[in-house]
């Protein structure tokens, strides 16, 4: 079955933990471009042990002006490791074409680095080095499907699959997914599936040490978005909370749900404050959308506060 993966607005919950081992020689790469305020890319974590440092400031990394940069490890600021003296100067026109390598040995802790070129003082950063040791444990990976659902659990119009991976050892290296048996694709953002029908999204993750988690899968069905998200609406003429009639008209908010539906006073709430906060949130959205005035909101939230819902 073909699937359409559309729109990938990016927010990946990739929880990369501090690595704890290095079973393979690691390479850490910094890149720079025309910016004088930040490196184009830099590592955030590493593992202790022999390490190849790569610093590239070339046309390939976006330097179009010949701007020189350095990658200099801080050896004086308190709170950081000072055991690596590294100072690489690179520009696209140097003898190496802007790409330089150095061999160092990292120890557990934090390292701070910066660009020593005058005027580049905000090009700074730090990375964390975890302790060494063998990492034979693959990452933990999971996925959550979200979206509006009908009473049968089908997703209305689209479903969004969010994959999360964590690895307490060497750290997560890659996360991949495929939809309905298609090609494996690097996961960079929640995957939105809009094509109607049943779908399977497979996913897997690999850590820096090369351990790959067993492939897993979530399945779901996307159906036509219904015209009425709240088919059994509370259609009382005014907004009512508990025994209080607020007098505010209980309008359809645009998707078949009335204000009373959104307030959902019969749902379970952890406590009274949770209900008041819930009402404040849904009504604020209606104020923002122009459905209600701010005074309407005050009347409704106040009625929520007066009610005994959540006690």
């Amino acid at each position: 079955m073909l699937a359409t993966v559309l729109g990938a607005a990016l927010v990946v919950a990739l929880l990369v933990a501090v690595p704890s081992s290095a079973v393979v020689a690691q390479v850490l790469t910094w890149t720079a471009n025309d910016s004088t305020t930040r490196y184009a890319s830099a590592p955030a974590t590493a593992v202790a042990g022999p390490t190849t440092i790569v610093f590239e400031n070339s046309a390939a990394t976006g330097n179009t002006t010949g701007m020189p940069h350095t990658l200099t490890f801080d050896t004086s600021t308190p709170g950081y490791n000072h055991d690596v003296a590294l100072n690489i100067l690179a520009n696209p026109f140097d003898a190496n074409g802007g790409r330089h390598e150095a061999e160092v040995t990292l120890t557990p802790g934090r390292y701070r680095y910066f660009c020593a070129i005058p005027g580049h003082s905000t090009m700074v950063g730090e990375f964390t080095v975890g302790p060494g040791g063998a990492d034979t444990t693959p990452p933990e990976v999971s996925a959550v499907v979200s979206g509006e659902r009908d009473g049968s659990g089908n997703y209305l119009g689209s479903a969004t699959v969010t994959v999360s991976a964590t690895d307490a050892g060497s750290g997560v290296a890659t996360v991949e997914y495929n939809v309905d048996g298609g090609p494996w694709t690097a996961y960079t953002a929640p995957v939105v599936v809009r094509q109607l029908g049943a779908h399977m999204v497979h996913y897997r993750a690999t850590d820096v040490a090369g351990n790959t988690a067993p492939e897993e899968m979530v399945s779901f069905t996307v159906v036509e978005p219904g015209p009425d998200v709240c088919p059994n609406s509370d259609i009382r003429p005014t907004v009512v909370i508990g025994a209080e009639n607020t007098g505010v008209t209980n309008v359809d908010t645009g998707n078949g749900c009335t204000i009373n539906d959104l307030i959902d006073e019969d749902a379970e709430y952890a406590d009274h404050a949770a209900f008041v906060r819930h009402v404040d949130a849904v009504i604020e959205a209606l104020v923002t959308a122009g459905v209600l005035t701010r005074r309407d909101k005050g009347v409704i939230v106040r009625a929520a506060a007066r009610s005994d819902i959540g006690y």
Partner: protein, 319 residues
């Protein structure tokens, strides 16, 4: 640090609470942490609702200060707080049938405070500052022994008795309904105006540079107010953008109207003992300031039509 058990607080603990007792502060006061529910016990010293937690109290007495930490909730009924109550960023205070001897202070970005059937000292809502939250103060049938001041949020008092002054600057709105205010009333720079309905204000009342209109008494477009009010001193309304209506009031001083757009509508049923100073019209005949006479537009209708159109434009609400 030395820690003390809750049993030290009272032997008659009807508490079903997980109250965690923290160490004494540098001033040796006891701080009791409240997470969960608590009953008719006396908490000596301060009470703290930790960040992100909820505390529900019924009949509880706290002899020290009460602090509602960031993102936390304090719901209290039938309580007695013998000193101040401080509400932090995104904190929520819900008070019913309770006495607060000290002040209630809501920090910038506080979620809000709701008081009903209670008595308290002054109330202060800090200006929004750099926070994104504009909180609220809703007061029902509560006596406030002091000043009420707000620099933010939705501000509505019904059935309140305030011994001090009431002042807001930069709030969304300030509404005073069926209330008694012994001091002065100052409403400035409110985004959606102010309503004073069925209330008695003993001191001078000043409304300055508000948006959305001012409604003193019935027949305005902001609130379905049933009756006018009493003002013991001058009432000054200036720089208002939006419909200003003064209807069915007794004003012992002057009614001063300056630079309101449209000009204020003053009904003939007001009794204004000090006279009217400034530009005004009969109700329903207000005209934009500085222009010829035009019939006042139905701003309520405009607002509703605008809201409906905005809702249509917005499409499905993203809730």
């Amino acid at each position: 640090m030395k820690r003390q058990a809750i049993v030290a607080l009272t032997a008659s603990a009807l508490v079903t609470v997980s109250m965690v007792v923290a160490a004494p502060t540098s001033s040796a006061d006891l701080v009791t942490h409240c997470v969960g529910t608590g009953g008719a016990v006396t908490v000596p010293g301060d009470l703290l609702v930790p960040a992100g937690e909820s505390c529900t109290l019924d009949g509880t007495t706290v002899t020290g200060n009460v602090r509602v930490s960031a993102g936390s909730n304090l719901i209290v009924s039938g309580g007695t707080f013998q000193r101040d109550v401080q509400v932090a960023l995104d904190g929520y205070l819900d008070v019913t049938d309770t006495t607060v001897t000290g002040q209630i202070m809501v920090a910038a970005g506080g979620f809000g405070a709701f008081l009903r059937g209670s008595e308290t000292g002054g109330i202060t809502l800090a200006p929004q500052g750099g926070t994104t939250v504009q909180g609220f103060l809703f007061v029902d049938d509560t006596t406030i022994n002091g000043n009420v001041t707000s620099g933010v949020g939705e501000f509505s008092l019904t059935g309140a008795q305030i011994t001090g002054n009431l002042s807001t600057d930069g709030a969304y709105y300030t509404d005073l309904v069926d209330s008694f205010l012994d001091g002065t009333l100052s409403v400035r720079n409110n985004a959606t105006g102010s309503v004073v309905c069925g209330s008695a204000v003993q001191g001078a009342a000043t409304f300055g540079t508000n948006q959305g209109g001012i409604q003193l008494g019935p027949n305005g477009n902001l609130d379905s107010c049933g009756s006018g009010g009493f003002f013991g001193r001058d009432v000054t309304i200036s720089g208002t953008t939006g419909r200003t209506v003064v209807d069915d009031n007794i004003i012992n001083g002057r009614l001063v109207l300056e630079a309101n757009d449209p000009v204020a509508e003053v009904a003939g049923n007001n009794r204004i003992r000090g006279g009217i100073v400034g530009d005004h019209d009969e109700p329903g005949t207000a005209r934009p300031a500085g222009t010829g006479r035009d019939r006042a537009t139905d701003r309520a209708g405009e607002r509703r039509a605008g809201a409906v159109q905005a809702a249509a434009d917005a499409g499905r609400a993203r809730l």
